[in-house]
Symmetry: C2
């Protein structure tokens, strides 16, 4: 009902709509209307109240609320079910809990802030309130667990496609770091899997996008290696618009993968890659080596040509070596 | 303390030991000794009490209690932490909960009965009280998630090694069905994985072993395709002995895998296999086909030679076609 009240306020655009009219059109009491208006205000909507004329929506809050996103979201699976939090410790942990309780394919968990955001390999992810998009998606794909690592490439492709559509110069460093054209990190992705040996129970893809962080917002240890879209643009970026574009790109890619497999995702990944063709250092699970990154294979592994032959990297940190002048 | 009282009773073998002596040696009151004796009796131990002579252990209960197993268990990791239940819905689900709460590498969850035992692909597993060994092991290996499917081969190898050591004629049908020499099923294994893309959080290996089920114990739908070790032997089999041997074999294999990888496990699997060299029908995820099972590869996938070439099977049901006379 709150969504319906909001829809009528939006429909009225820059005009007042009376409480009486809202009550009549929705078939509820005027007291009920008043309560919903109060709840919308509490959620951050700026609503002008006038004793005779009624209500007018002045400004939607800068929050990633389902009622802001869902009405115009063009997706078939991703975000049809969406849960919003002011602050939670970790959207991935929350999504895993919901998945264990049966949350459907495409469920999105989004938080304005994370108290203990998780990055890869037990690293943290700095997630201050309303400065970024900190969210996790629950997927229940039909493909085999062996294909799950490619979800993380798919997520990076979705984010980059959305950002490029909005004009940002970004690329992907293998496997899923989204960087600006100076190599500074904009996005972190942490994919987790729950599976039997031949069936996926669920995949949770957690994504953190630095949107409106300014230089003074970054902790000292990451301020030289991280940046934000707002800093790239030199001004505030609309989080709701970006979030919707990312979810739509992810929906498109996910439906394609379920139908045709990962080939198209891998091709799009190659187009966005800043790693391929570069001299790289690989810090692997057991050893460190250098070579030329030539391609990714059908499993999403990075192929590196070294003096001792071609090597295949499934896990580890890859750094791009600066070109000699 | 209860374990220490039990140890003294065992030490006395077929002689009485007085409550006074137990109290003195353990530094507790005679009332405390009496309470521990009462608890042991409640757990199923048959203990003779004599007013003047004291206590004598007549028979240990036919239960898979940690205090029965652990004192003689020769393992380094598996079963150092062990949790025993009379009945739980599913040992795998319980093990996953404990793993999420931080249960250490090698934790064993064992139940005398499962109310809703789980098999592969949402099938059930019939787990009547004290008739089998229904248990799950939590592993936290250092290898990559891509290697996790081989855990299910490792578990089958551990079970078969233990059974062969006890003289049973058993073999493995790919990937992890343990069968008698007439092709009847003795064991079910369900392996579940929780992982990030490049790190395993935990693996839970659930194993159900039909030990002392008799023909009348089996439900109609499985009585022609399943059997038990007791039926093979024509008499009761010691569950504690078998369980200890399985855990010891698993410990040995797991330590070897962590040190040297899966090659030795795959070789032992090949020796126990009843699938390799056979004509098989494969009911795969998307299609059905027939061919000759020739080998498993380094990923544990089954390799099938068909008229159209070699095929690689990662998931699905494989049935062995009877040889023509």
């Amino acid at each position: 009902m709150q969504k319906k009240v909001l829809a009528l306020l939006r429909e009225a655009e820059d005009n007042y709509i009376s409480g009486e009219e809202i009550a009549a059109r929705l078939g509820v009491s005027r007291t009920a209307v008043w309560k919903h208006i109060r709840a919308l205000k509490a959620a951050g909507y700026e609503i002008e109240s006038h004793a005779r004329r009624g209500y007018m929506l002045l400004e939607a809050p800068d929050l990633l609320l389902p009622q802001e996103l869902q009405p115009t979201l063009r997706t078939q699976v991703i975000g049809k079910n969406m849960v919003h939090y002011g602050e939670i410790p970790s959207s991935n942990n929350e999504a895993k809990k919901l998945a264990l309780d049966g949350a459907p394919d495409g469920t999105v968990v989004v938080a304005e802030a994370q108290g203990a955001g998780k990055g890869r390999l037990s690293r943290g992810w700095y997630s201050p309130a309303r400065k970024g998009i900190w969210f996790s998606v629950v997927l229940r794909p039909a493909f085999l667990p062996q294909d799950a690592p490619k979800c993380t490439l798919m997520a990076a492709v979705a984010v980059v496609r959305a950002m490029k559509d909005m004009g940002f110069p970004v690329g992907i460093k293998w496997p899923n770091d989204v960087l600006d054209n100076k190599g500074r990190k904009l996005v972190g992705i942490l994919t987790e899997l729950s599976a039997e040996m031949e069936r996926i129970n669920f995949v949770v893809i957690g994504t953190g996008i630095n949107v409106n962080l300014w230089p003074e917002d970054f902790p000292d240890d990451i301020k030289d290696i991280a940046t934000s879209l707002g800093m790239l643009r030199g001004g505030k970026v609309d989080r709701v618009e970006l979030f919707a574009r990312v979810l739509e790109a992810l929906d498109d890619l996910y439906l394609s993968v379920e139908k045709k497999g990962f080939d198209d995702v891998l091709d799009e990944w190659r187009r966005y890659s800043v790693t391929l063709g570069q001299e790289v250092n690989v810090i692997g699970v057991k050893e460190t080596f250098a070579g030329t990154a030539t391609d990714i294979d059908a499993d999403g592994a990075l192929l590196i040509d070294t003096p001792e032959g071609r090597r295949r990297v499934l896990a580890g940190d890859v750094s791009i070596r600066p070109r000699r002048k």
